[in-house]
Each structure stands twice: as structure tokens, then as C-alpha cells.
Amino acid sequence: MSDTEKLLDVQHVTVEFHIGGLLGGSLLVAVNDISFSLDKDRPEIFTLAGESGSGKTTLSRLFLRDLEPTRGKVLFEGRDLATIRKRSEFKEFMKKVQPVFQNPFETFSPLRRVDAYLFDTALNFKMARNRRDAILVVDEALRSVGLSLEEVSRRYPHELSGGQTQRVSVARALISQPKLILADEPVSMVDASLRMEIVNLFRELRDKQKVSVIYITHDLATAYYISDRIGIMLRGFIVESGPVEDVLEQPFHPYTKLLKESVPEPNPKDRETWAKHISLGTTEVKEYSQVGCKFASRCPQVMDICREVDPPDVQIERRVVKCYLYMENTGQ
């Protein structure tokens, strides 16, 4: 498959941060040799899941070109993001990749009416020539998220519910007719009764508007509900990735197993097993600087080699697992 058929192609990206003093200090590898791609003509919802401090947000900043990788390349529609230099080119790129953020009440200034953001976006991206034309564009975007301009015009963020504000936030992202939406924890601040509404909206965008979504979350239950593929992140690595049914119904990597077990089932029948004692990780920095597999200190099936060399990616059927336990399957 040539590069032009990929919407987003992430090739062995690594991001390193220098922490500590000017001379001393240490290196923190926040994103460690990650590769994956999204197809152009098959829109899908790809989930990046993992605990806080696993590098999810750092990785997503690369896709917005908010951050440049230390090593490796991110290609969008075949174009290396590092080669985008001119402002006009960057604007073209921004049109195609749009973010949706976590807290809808922080996305919008409390002193500004929410529709002002929608009009600004429409005019900035030249989706409309003047404000009157923009009304159509804005209304259309709002309708695709189940609202209308009538409902939100002249309203301040506090006059809308969390779910509505988050939908306006999605509508804003849709104005430039993007190919890819990057949603960083879009439902974690939304009330339970409104959460499914937002989650369903992403499914609808994929099916009707053919928009691909990178859904970043630590909530595996909603990830299972909406996504097609999932990548489980741990301390900068993607430790397991593949179709969401495979990975979450029958996880292979010991970390994915622990994650899945820890998700509380909304059903009291499993409370005894859930209460089984688990050991928690040490501080983030310690696990990041650990040599070899980052899960080794907590893994119940740890081997000597895990503490020495980074585990290899092992392909098993439709998924990739980064673990020594599955080495035989490759025939090595």
C-alpha cells in the first residue's frame, strides 16, 4: 500500500523530554517508537487508551503538529508534518485535522458567547466569505451534532449544559470539514446521563460524515462501545493494539489484562473478584526510567529478560503485542 492511501501514518515516532537541571537531569521518553496508521477511504475510530502519564496526550500533540517528534515521522495524507513550514500550508493542514478537548467549560471563555467561536472558525478557515454566509455554515455544523444556531446563538457557556457545550465544541471542529478529529477525553467531564449522547455523536460522524476519529481516553467501557481499533499505552509504548473486540474481550498483554480486570463492571455480581488485591505502580518517573519492559515491576509473569531489553512487537493474528510471553508464536 503506498503512502497516499493513508490518512495518517505514524512511523516510529519517539518524543524525549529533558527533565531536571540544565547540566544534570535525565531523559524521559514520553513516546517510544510508536507506529500505526489510519486508512484514507475507510473512516474509523481509533482509541488510544492508558492511565495518566502513559503518553497519550503527548502522542496526540504530534498529530496536531503542536510538538515535533525527536525521531520518526508523522505523515498526513502522505505529507511529512515536519515539512510544513509556511503559514498557509499549516492552515490547510489545520482545516483537515481538528481537536476536541476534555473540559467543555474550559474550551470556551466564560465571557464570550459560544456562537462567536463558531463564526470565527468559519471565517478564519474561509469556509464563508462574510458573516451572513457563515450563518449557513455554522447552522449546518450545529445541526450535524443535533443542535441548531437558534438554540445556541447569543448564549454564554454557563447557559448551556455540559453535554450541549461539548456538542458545540464538536460542531466547531466540524466547521472546516476535517478528515480527522482528535478527541482528548471528550466525555470525562460530562454527566452520565449526557455522556452516551456525545459518544454516539462520534459514531454518527464516522458513519455519516466519513470522519476518522482518534479517541483518547482512560475509560475502556466507552472505548469498547465506539471504537474499531484500540492501542493500549503504557509509559510511552503501545503495548497491545488491534481490533477492539480482540484486545478487550481477550487481552494478551499482562498489562491489558490488569486494565480490563480493573474496570469496575456496572454489575454487583463480580464484586468479590474485583476486590482481589492488586499492587500499584511506583511513581511515574521511576517506571519511565526503568530499563526493558515498563510493566516488569508489576507483572505477575515477569521473566529475567523483561528487565533487560525492550520487548519486541509480536504479531498475533490481527493484533500486535509487545511482550516476551508471545515470542514462540512468531517462530523466532
Binding site: 452516551m196 449522547e197 469496575p264 454487583p268 492488586i278
Partner: protein, 330 residues
Amino acid sequence: MSLLNVKNLCAYYQTELYGISRTVRAVDGVSFELFPNEIYGVAGESSCGKTTLIKVISGNVKNPLKVISGSVEYKFGEYAVDMLHISKEELRSSVRWKEISYVMQGSMSVLNPVRKIIKTFEDIITTHDRFTNKKEFLEHARAHVNRLGLPTEVLNSYPHQLSGGMRQRVAIVLATLFQPSLIIADEPTTALDVVVQRGVLQMIKNIQAMSSNTVLLVTHDMAVHANVADRVMIMYAGRIAEEAPTEIIFNAPLHPYTQHLIRSLPMIGERSDKAGLRGSPPNLANPPSGCRFHERCPEVMDICLTEVPEMITVGEKHRVACHLVKENYL
């Protein structure tokens, strides 16, 4: 015998600014009981009055919050406390921390960022209990930390050196220093990851089992209640919608709001369509008439628009406030 008996509690926020007065009916006619040796869950969306309820029952009523009517009575063994009429001095010296303690959502704000954890321990112990010498105090603190399974090194660290989960566990350790009869945990795991959340909740369960006290667990996450709580109260817009043992809340809920909440929970391994609830949570400054859920209720009837549904008991420890349930039940 109940540990806490709350009767018909109404607590409103009343403000007056530039001649405009505003009343937010955050807790409106709430009655419930807490018993010794149980984990009682309180669930509800944001701004349904959960936190206000906790403020009142922990004796933390400050302007503009006012208790309009009702009673909040505790019985710690022989020691009875009327929370609405207790003096500040008595509250500080014999109730707070000794009988009732509080675990908050953001443990970062509980711990002083520029002092070592042990100093925070010292602060709490000296304001509530006098230790004659330092050695005795240190021993007590170490033994307590050890008993709850944390490494004693945490005592000599600063809060920023600990992970979020460890900090939250330190906050729980602090809350249990004096073996209180009631631990109020307000969204104790909301900011944490699933694995850490599990660890923290396990700790709360263990402590409860060890000292057979009562834990009031407030969270909007129904899955947490399913795995931790013994009984669950569902709040909606300042009132109790339903209260029942956990199994009943999850397997046979009666209130339409509870039914929707349970049905809409996504689960791994099950992918049927889950719908959101139409409309948005009501504004408590101007709540809907009658049943406050009627604007969003899929099974609304005429009576719901005008009359407030009364709380009826439908089974052992199972109470519901809904006209439809009452009609079917009677």
C-alpha cells in the same frame, strides 16, 4: 440502631445581591438513615445536591448555605449529637476527625505542598488530640501507616513526590487516624485511573471491614457503587429518587431515572445501542414543578407535572419517589 438519622432536610443557598434574591434548592426534603458497619453510596449527576448534603451532615454550613428545616442527628454509641445545633467548639474537639472524617476529591489540596506528610499528620494530631511527646506520636503515625499497608517512607516525602494514587491513599490514612465512626468520601477516585482507582477503593473497603464503621461514598460513577457500596441512594435535582440495596438498584430498579442510568452504562463485551437522556439537568434555582424529573422522563403522566411524588417503601430497605411506581404498587 441508626448511626445517623436525617429527617426531611431542606438546605438552600440564599443570596441577595443588588436587591435580587436567589434561592437554589440544593437539598429539598431529604430523609435517610445510616447504620453502623455499612458502605452507603450516594449517586447523582453534578449539581444534584450531593456535595451540599455532605456539607450539612458534616456540620459545615456556611453562608450562603442555610438549613431551612429538618434534623440531622447522630448517635455515636452513647454520645448523641444534634448536628444542626452543636457548638463549634464541641464539633472541633470531639466530633470532627474523631467521629466523622472526610476524604476529598483532590488529595493534592488536602496535603500542604511545602511540608512533609509527617508534618501534616502532626498538625492534625495536635489540633485534635495532644500527644505528650514526639516519640509517642511518631510511633502512632508509623504504626497506623503500616497497618494500612503503605510504606513508612511516605511520611518523610513531600506530596509532589508521590503519585496521585498514593496521595489519595495518604489522605485516607489521615482520615482514619482516630478510627472514626463515619468516613465521608466525596468522589475519592474521580481523578484517578482505573487500576489506581481499584487500589484506592480496595483500601477503603479493607478499612471498613477492619474497623466495622460506616463509609458514606459519594460518586457519580455507578460502576464503582456496583462493586463497593452495600446500599445506594440515587439523587436527582436535590431529592432522593430511589434508595435500595446495591443488587436491587442494579437488577430491579423502579424509578425511570435509575432505570435509564443503569441501562445506559457501557460494558465491555456488550455493544447494543445506548441512548443518552433527552434534555439537561434542571436548574435548581428554578426547579420544575411536581416531580423534578418530569421534563426528561420517558413515562411522564399528568400528575407528575403538578404533584411532588412522595417517598414510598416498596420492599425491604427499598424506597422510591415516583407516581408511576406508586400507581403500580398500590
